[in-house]
């Protein structure tokens, strides 16, 4: 089955109508389009957080601490009297940022390793893929926790910690795509007219493996957002007072018995974001690889 899948990716994406067709199929998928719109909205809200959020995220007001949702504070306030809605809006910035860049990191590193392994094969392939096996032998979240514990806490290190755990997936995708592509005639033709290895990989092979990468990265972003929330919840990710959904939950947990509203909303924000990314990812998979749809 996997061989057929690879072949279909290789051939169908080589003519230019492929992306237009895929977009046409995606447009028919209502839930995927709704998710796409929601995701774009979330990104816009995160970018323009300053103008959208009703209060500054760090404005403390002890007189208004622990308030339940009301007209002034739509989602209530926390133990310092900070507006929860504003903190969730700013927290979205961190989650989306970390989610995007950790996957970006994983695609770049994993992509290069996978492409090199698949293209040159032999010894390099063996060494690289065995290294990936080692990374995959450690459960993803556990690896991220270990790395996060080893680094100083901070945004950049969280991105790397989560990204490293994702690297093997992209290395595997790129490698298998490259392995099947490099035997095809258009690659041979390019080589015959004297194209360099670099040119063949960048201009001919990478554009042809984009479809599975796009699907995996959408679903991967959902996983990365879950990971950053988990790390922060455990106190290993983004440190307070920076608003982050996981660390908001970790703080809210101490007041769970008396003020459950503090726990409800940050979790809903995480869930909605992951939900949207998952549906979009599923939709993209159906649109980019129509054969897989049942």
């Amino acid at each position: 089955m996997s061989r057929r899948k690879r072949a279909s990716i290789g051939t169908s994406s080589s003519h230019s109508g492929y992306w237009a067709n895929a977009w046409g199929r995606l447009k028919k998928n209502k839930s995927a389009i709704v998710s796409l719109i929601l995701l774009i909205l979330m990104i816009l809200v995160a970018i323009f957080a300053k103008y959208v959020s009703p209060y500054p995220y760090d404005l403390q007001n002890p007189a208004e601490a622990y308030q339940s949702p009301s007209a002034q504070h739509w989602l209530g306030t926390d133990n310092f009297g900070r507006d929860i809605l504003s903190r969730i809006i700013y927290g979205g910035r961190i989650s989306l940022f970390v989610g995007f860049f950790s996957i970006f990191f994983a695609i770049i590193v994993g992509g290069i390793l996978g492409a090199v392994a698949g293209y040159y094969a032999g010894k390099i392939d063996n060494i690289l893929m065995r290294t990936m096996d080692i990374l995959m032998a450690i459960p993803g979240l556990l690896l991220a926790i270990t790395l996060a514990a080893a680094f100083e806490p901070g945004l950049r290190n969280v991105i790397i910690a989560i990204g490293v755990a994702e690297v093997p997936f992209y290395a595997r995708i790129l490698r298998s795509s490259v392995l099947s592509l490099k035997e095809q005639e258009f690659i041979e033709a390019a080589r015959c007219i004297g194209a360099s290895d670099k040119r063949i990989i960048l201009k001919h092979i990478i554009p042809n493996c984009l479809a599975p990468i796009i699907v995996q990265s959408t679903l991967g972003m959902a996983g990365a957002i879950l990971s950053v929330a988990s790390l922060s919840f455990l106190g290993l990710g983004i440190q307070p007072p920076t608003p982050e959904w996981g660390s908001m939950l970790s703080n809210a947990r101490q007041h769970i018995l008396n003020y459950p509203h503090m726990v409800v909303f940050p979790g809903l924000a995480i869930m909605l974001t992951i939900f949207v990314l998952n549906i979009l990812g599923d939709g993209l998979r159906d649109a980019l690889d129509p054969r897989l749809k049942d």
């Binding site: 032998a137 926790i145 270990t146 514990a149 988990s230 769970i256």
Partner: protein
């Protein structure tokens, strides 16, 4: 079959060595001097130096790594805690049963829920059951397990007062954690069961079974499920890794004294040896489960064994010709 298991075991060795090297290296370059941590901030430079000497902490990286691997492989010795001086293995073995219990009960929950919902939604495709199960799966995959745990505590402990919120003192404490952790994996298992069963149901031999007048129940249970469950086994194996990672969060939410909490506590205390040992132990158990899954896979799917045998025969022929 034995040969297959033997070969699979041999293949595991370099990966496990790699895991030990990787984890050791990450922790080796962690900022913070272990000797200084052991003695506290007030200790004199000389005392710290002496302790470093004593514990062999000033030896080169490769020597310490070699020692660490040798001790694990030959004696099962994961070193000593920097904080308590106790052998790390003792602490791990004290905590591991809790984590194992949590992970096993969660797998059980996810299998019961995931399989039954997957089968129901595949046999009733596009019905309300199917729609409900699909929505459940999407929500289950999207819900962070630790948040689900917190919400369950609010509902069942603080509002309804049926179950205790945290700790481990009896069977009542062991209802919410596996349910919360298992439901997340149940969603993945349900999706895989559904799509795999849908694929199998359309095959000719199922039509034949129906044509010869077999009851629908028998067609599904005896004919279709046997083949449909093969890919599900892989998902269960992969989910076990997710469960081990997730157990760290759930142990923290419900204050269960498991390996995950040991690791998190040790990170806070900068106790490198305990973190290292705990992470390694979890990674090793994950590899072990994957090994079991692979063997099980070969056992339930005769095609894998025959492929393996065919490959061996080919290799032998080639080597004879050379």
């Amino acid at each position: 079959m034995l040969k297959f298991i033997g070969k699979r075991l041999l293949m595991m060795i370099p990966v496990l060595l790699g895991v030990i090297i990787l984890v050791f290296t990450i922790m080796f370059y962690t900022p913070g001097d272990p000797a200084r941590i052991m003695l506290g901030a007030g200790a004199s430079e000389e005392a710290v130096q002496q302790l470093r000497e004593e514990k062999g902490l000033n030896r080169p990286y490769f020597v310490q790594l070699g020692d660490y691997i040798k001790n694990i492989v030959l004696h099962g010795d994961f070193g000593e805690s920097f904080q308590t001086g106790e052998p790390v293995l003792n602490e791990i073995l004290e905590r591991f049963p809790t984590t194992l219990k949590l992970a096993s009960l969660s797998v059980l929950v996810s299998l019961i829920v995931g399989l039954s919902m997957g089968i129901l939604s595949a046999t009733h495709q596009y019905s309300w059951i199917d729609k409900f199960a699909t929505a459940f799966a999407l929500l289950g995959v999207s819900m962070p397990s630790f948040w689900a745990g917190l919400m369950a505590t609010i509902l069942f402990s603080s509002i309804l007062g049926w179950l205790p919120a945290s700790g481990s003192y009896g069977w009542k404490y062991w209802i919410l954690p596996p349910l919360v952790l298992g439901l997340h994996s149940a969603a993945s298992i349900m999706r895989m069961t559904r799509s795999s069963l849908l694929e199998v149901i359309r095959q000719d031999y199922i039509r034949t079974a129906r044509a010869k007048g077999q009851s629908e129940r028998k067609v599904i249970v005896v004919h279709a499920l046997r083949n449909a469950l093969i890919p599900v086994v892989t998902v269960v194996g992969m989910q076990f890794g997710v469960l081990l990672g997730g157990s760290i969060l759930i142990e923290s939410v419900f204050a269960l004294p498991g390996l995950g909490r040991l690791i998190i506590g040790a990170i806070g205390k900068r106790d490198r040896m305990v973190v290292q040992g705990g992470v390694l132990f979890l990674a090793l158990s994950f590899s072990f489960v994957n090994l079991l899954v692979d063997i099980l896979y070969a056992y339930i799917d005769p095609r894998i064994m025959s492929q393996y045998k065919a490959l061996n025969k080919k290799k032998k022929k080639v080597s004879k010709n050379v």
